[in-house]
Homo-oligomer: 344 residues x 2
């Protein structure tokens, strides 16, 4: 029987095996692999060569216990029943993609945990040695979950929030107020006169409420009045947008524009306008919020206010990993002009 080492079940090679083969102490192997200046370049080269030859890999758990680092950021995504994959909230996964990329650029990996308000909540990743910091992403609707994470943030550092409903915490948010102004001013500049706001406002300082405040301010500066929908039935954002648009148009058929507080709400508005035969953007203009890639596929493609997700990811990492002490951070937004608003 011939023995094929590459076919046999591998026994784990340890740093002691490397030390023996290289003719040094085990502690020298550890120091060499950690890049310690106490080890000469020649010894380091010999240790690395033997480690490669034996297929020695550092066990990150043991290494982490020594260094205290995990080189990992944990990301908790709070989901409601309406956010389940694959038709859930794609914005969270677009932000997650940006966090993964920013983490990767810093040499970090990303540990993702989907959690729901009615399930077991957990943000103890740093304490449990699984991450160097934790980011929580979710909608303000999950208020009891946010209360749990807010309390956790008071007792630990390295925890950063996106979407939390309270001001009294360390979070990163879009410049929602500025975004509401930009969207509304753009519609006014293009000649629309009766601009309705689509987005349930709930209570407290949520992101939608901040967008609404910017909308109202931009209208007031031109002497115009805000127009709000009165009903938002349960359901997904698209369906809520559809019903809000119908509610408003049925009350006042002269409404000629909508600022929707999220792109998914805007897709529902588009559906309703198509159903009643209104031409977008000739008869009615629409601006969304989020800059979602799906907005390139709608008909017409959706003009939207987009937060800089790369900057958002970097700010969240600075707060979660570097423990940056600023309480809050605002991320710039910009208007992406597609085709749901009349050209100038």
């Amino acid at each position: 029987m011939s023995s094929e080492p590459s076919e046999t079940k591998a026994t784990r090679v340890t740093s002691f095996d490397v030390a023996e083969r290289a003719g040094v102490n085990q502690s020298t192997v550890s120091r060499a692999l950690a890049g310690s200046p106490q080890v000469t370049p020649a010894t380091r080269e010999r240790v690395l060569a033997v480690a490669r030859e034996l297929g020695y890999t550092v066990d990150q758990r043991a290494s982490g216990l020594r260094t205290g680092r995990t080189d990992t950021v944990a990301v908790v995504i709070l989901q409601g029943p309406e956010d389940k994959a694959p038709s859930g909230n794609p914005f969270y996964f677009e932000l997650l993609g940006s966090i993964c990329e920013a983490a990767s650029a810093r040499g970090l990996e990303t540990l993702v945990s989907l959690q729901s308000e009615d399930g077991r909540l957990s943000g103890d990743y740093v304490k449990r040695g699984q991450a160097d910091g934790t980011i929580v992403i979710g909608s303000a609707r999950h208020s009891s979950a946010w209360t749990y994470f807010q309390q956790l943030q008071r007792s630990t550092g390295n925890l950063a929030f996106w979407g939390s409903p309270f001001d009294d915490a360390r979070w990163v948010r879009s410049d929602n107020h500025g975004g509401g102004r930009i969207a509304t001013s753009h519609l006014l500049d293009r000649g629309y006169r009766k601009i309705a706001f689509v987005g349930p406002l709930g209570t407290g300082p949520g992101q939608f409420a901040e967008r609404f405040a910017g909308y109202r301010e931009a209208l007031a500066e031109r002497g115009a009045q805000p127009i709000e929908a009165s009903i938002y039935p349960d359901g997904d954002r698209k369906s809520q947008g559809y019903h809000a648009a119908r509610d408003m148009i049925e009350r006042d058929g002269s409404i000629d524009a909508f600022f929707a507080a999220s792109d998914r709400l805007a897709f529902g508005v588009l559906d309703y306008l198509k159903e009643i035969g209104r031409d977008v953007p000739e008869d009615v203009g629409i601006v969304g919020f989020d800059g979602m890639s799906a907005g390139t596929i709608s008909s017409p493609p959706l003009t939207t206010v987009a937060p800089d997700l790369a900057k958002a990811a970097e700010a969240l990492l600075r707060m979660a990993i570097d423990g940056e002490t600023s309480v809050t951070q605002r991320v710039n937004v910009k208007l992406i002009e597609r085709a749901s608003v009349r050209p100038a």
Copy 2:
């Protein structure tokens, strides 16, 4: 000066502290927390109460070194330059969402690593003690990266692939051949006669080639001929779909249907047909592949072949975590009827 314990920087509570307070040995604490039957229920209750009181949390690294488990699945997403967030390949993130949910249902967390062909590739998560298994997701285009992972799979277990370009590996795939047949038969059943295939085929047994084979077979059974585009310029899938549709319609204006090998290709086909004023679905029918949620937003909403992503996630986890030995697994697909094909 008053001392506020909750405000001071926490010193880590160890299992020895718990043991001392509970009046047992440290090894009893470990056994109690691990649910060992060697510990009486009364002792276990006392240890748990003290652990809660002191705020003791098990360090997963130390625990993992003892148990050999990490309760984590690693997911590598292979990205090309065209796949960057946030406008990258949303299908990968829809599949990732399904994997996160299936992992969560099994009590696992998900470690995500974005990797690119020209960067440092790594699939050693199990060996490094960071995961109990690894799933690699990517497009067949990243052939040199797949070669690396294929070699890794030959020397280690607990590695599962989605999207790998070779048959000689342990992978999970959609029933691409069946899906191609379903899409094509559906178009034929609804009265379309000249059905073109949109999708660059490249070389080897890629997923697009399997979809094409199903398409060709369904056509042959009805005595029809396949129609292929000759050009696929570089660029994203939507742009490739646009150019392929233009190429084919310019050669043969009587083409009355398209089967696009991915939804993003289909969105490009829709764009071109809108540009030349063809009515979808009256003049031309389109079926995509992937079941992406963005297909609900296109105009008209896209009829598509959808793999069962929940089943795909479960199969990938069984292969990666349980080390299931079956070489390959096919996931069922189904037709999602929206509005880009004429009603019956």
